[in-house]
């Protein structure tokens, strides 16, 4: 049984493609609130998200959501257990409207998995559209949206089914400063009101530091640090691996 508040546990996860080991025994946990996942390009961050959400089978180790193992479940089963995620480049259905795209986040969950009435679901979608400032766009096809808005729609979609844990793959990349604020405000609300746990991959260290109570650092497929941002960002090997002098000053 994981300690209280912990939603997602990654235990000794190993992932390899062919002869390449991309993740070499990664262990950490994600609790309610924001957890940051940082590391240089090619460190294995997206692979880690793919392994957690069932897209890539691990060669060793396991992932627990709540207290249940996700081993050998296919992605849609994992999603129905309460795991939402976004992708680095938003994957929306171009011809469907914003509202329909957000509804897609619920469609796979209705009637299966957790019980919820249709009325509650619709109210939930309305709430997300309003909080994320998408109401003016709701009847536009996703294809007509700028890149940054598509990313926001994808976040709304990932939250629609009220997941226990949501994995965000660089949600702020490509967004202007004002748009980032519009995005993280509602995210914070979801965390406070619904006890959501967020694992966020982000290159914007300033944002990660501001948002996360805890960050984990991945380098060459290994976890090299795990702790409060202020401490982690001061560790010399973290600075060497990733941050460089400029950002270390912020920490």
């Amino acid at each position: 049984m994981p300690p209280a508040g912990v939603r997602l546990v990654v235990e000794d996860l190993v992932v390899g493609f062919g002869g390449n080991t991309v993740l070499q025994g990664v262990s950490f946990s994600v609790a309610q609130g924001f957890t940051g996942l940082i590391g240089p390009n090619g460190a294995g961050k997206t692979t880690l998200l793919n392994a957690i959400s069932g897209y890539v089978p691990p060669t060793r180790g396991r992932v627990l959501l709540g207290d249940r193992s996700l081993a050998s479940l296919r992605p849609h089963r994992i999603a129905r257990r309460g795991l939402g995620r976004t992708f680095q480049t938003p994957r929306l259905v171009p011809e469907l409207t914003v509202w329909e795209n957000v509804m897609l986040g619920l469609d796979g969950h209705i009637r299966w998995g957790r019980k919820r009435s249709r009325v509650v679901s619709l109210a939930r979608v309305e709430e997300l559209l309003r909080q994320l400032g998408l109401n003016d766009w709701r009847d536009r096809p996703a294809a007509s949206l700028p890149f940054s808005s598509r990313k926001v729609v994808e976040v709304a979609r990932a939250l629609a089914a009220d997941p226990l844990v949501v994995l965000l793959d660089e949600p702020a990349a490509g967004l202007g400063p004002a748009e980032v604020e519009h995005l993280i405000g509602p995210l914070k609300r979801q965390v406070e009101e619904r006890g959501l746990a967020v694992l966020i991959v982000e290159h914007d260290i300033e944002l990660v530091t501001r948002l996360c109570s805890r960050i984990v650092v991945l380098d060459f497929g290994q976890l090299i640090a795990d702790g409060a941002p202020a401490q982690v960002l001061r560790l010399p090997h973290v600075v060497n691996a990733y941050l460089g002098a400029g950002v270390a000053a912020v920490g």
Partner: protein, 286 residues
């Protein structure tokens, strides 16, 4: 039984040849060519007309027909396929189906639907123990293997390597200073020539009619699929095995069984090993 194996190998080399045509267009332009049978059919009708109406010597007519096939492959690529490069298989499949039916009906319009015999290329046979092997069967098999061998060598030459490079990344040949269009046109010309030989050999063994191409296309797909649409050896082995299986099924089960072997075979292969029996495995896409 050995007799069935021999006739199966002869029939199978036509399948293998058509499959080789499919592999060539797949490898270079990444187009699954449903029109391959029809593209082989038209030149064979040209061959027949050159021989029967213009009284050309048959060997010369065949050479001329293969030149026609080359030209037709080039033209078809130039007019249709070139504009679709980079589009999904969904689009190219439909395009080649359109070409398939257009070519078939052109053949029907020009030459009618009556089956037409072709003159024998070689005659005679010899005994191999209990088994009678005709020289025509031997020739069919030899031609099939020779073309397969030539292709294997060809893909290692400069032009062959360029062709393969086009399929993998259209940017690479441009860096090498080669025009992608030239390469893809050339590959369609070659594939079309091979298909003409395939249809010719299979029609030599029976008669020529507008369905001759259709009869080969599914068998060709089975053989190409067995090799995962990339392996020349796989396509040859697949084609020969299919020919043998069909003949055995025809002899020991029924004529109807023979015609369903290929159809069932392809379903089974795709269900068991979707990337082909001898092709590369795939991971799950993210």
């Amino acid at each position: 039984m050995a007799q069935q194996v021999i006739s199966g190998l002869a029939a199978g080399s036509s399948y293998a040849l058509l499959a080789l045509g499919l592999v060539v267009t797949m490898k270079t332009t990444s187009v699954p060519n449903f029109a391959m049978g029809a593209m082989g059919l038209l030149p064979v009708y040209v061959i027949r007309s050159l021989w029967s109406q213009l009284h050309l010597p048959y060997g010369l007519a065949i050479l001329a027909g293969i030149v026609v096939a080359f030209g037709m492959g080039w033209v078809v690529e130039r007019l249709t396929i070139r504009h679709l490069i980079g589009l999904s298989h969904f689009t190219t499949v439909l395009m080649t189906i359109g070409i398939w039916f257009a070519l078939n009906s052109i053949v029907g319009l020009l030459w009618g639907y009556e089956p037409q015999p072709l003159p024998g290329l070689v005659s005679g046979s010899f005994d191999l123990g209990q088994v009678v092997v005709t020289n025509a069967q031997l020739m069919t098999l030899a031609v099939g293997l020779a073309i397969a061998g030539w292709l294997i060598v060809f893909f290692r030459t400069t032009w062959g390597v360029r062709m393969r490079a086009v399929a993998e990344d259209p940017l690479v040949p441009r860096l090498l200073g080669v025009r992608v269009a030239t390469i893809s046109g050339l590959s369609w010309a070659i594939a079309s020539g091979i298909a003409a030989i395939a249809v010719l050999l299979s029609a030599q063994a029976s008669v020529l009619n507008p369905q001759s191409g259709d009869d080969l296309i599914i068998s060709g797909f089975v053989a190409a699929t067995a090799g995962g649409f990339s392996s020349i050896g796989g396509a040859v082995i697949g084609g020969l095995a299919l020919g043998v299986l069909e003949n055995l099924a025809g002899a020991y089960l029924s004529g109807a069984a023979a015609s369903t072997v290929a159809l069932l075979g392809i379903m089974v292969i795709l269900l068991v090993r979707p990337t082909g029996l001898l092709g590369p495995g795939t991971g799950r896409e993210v």
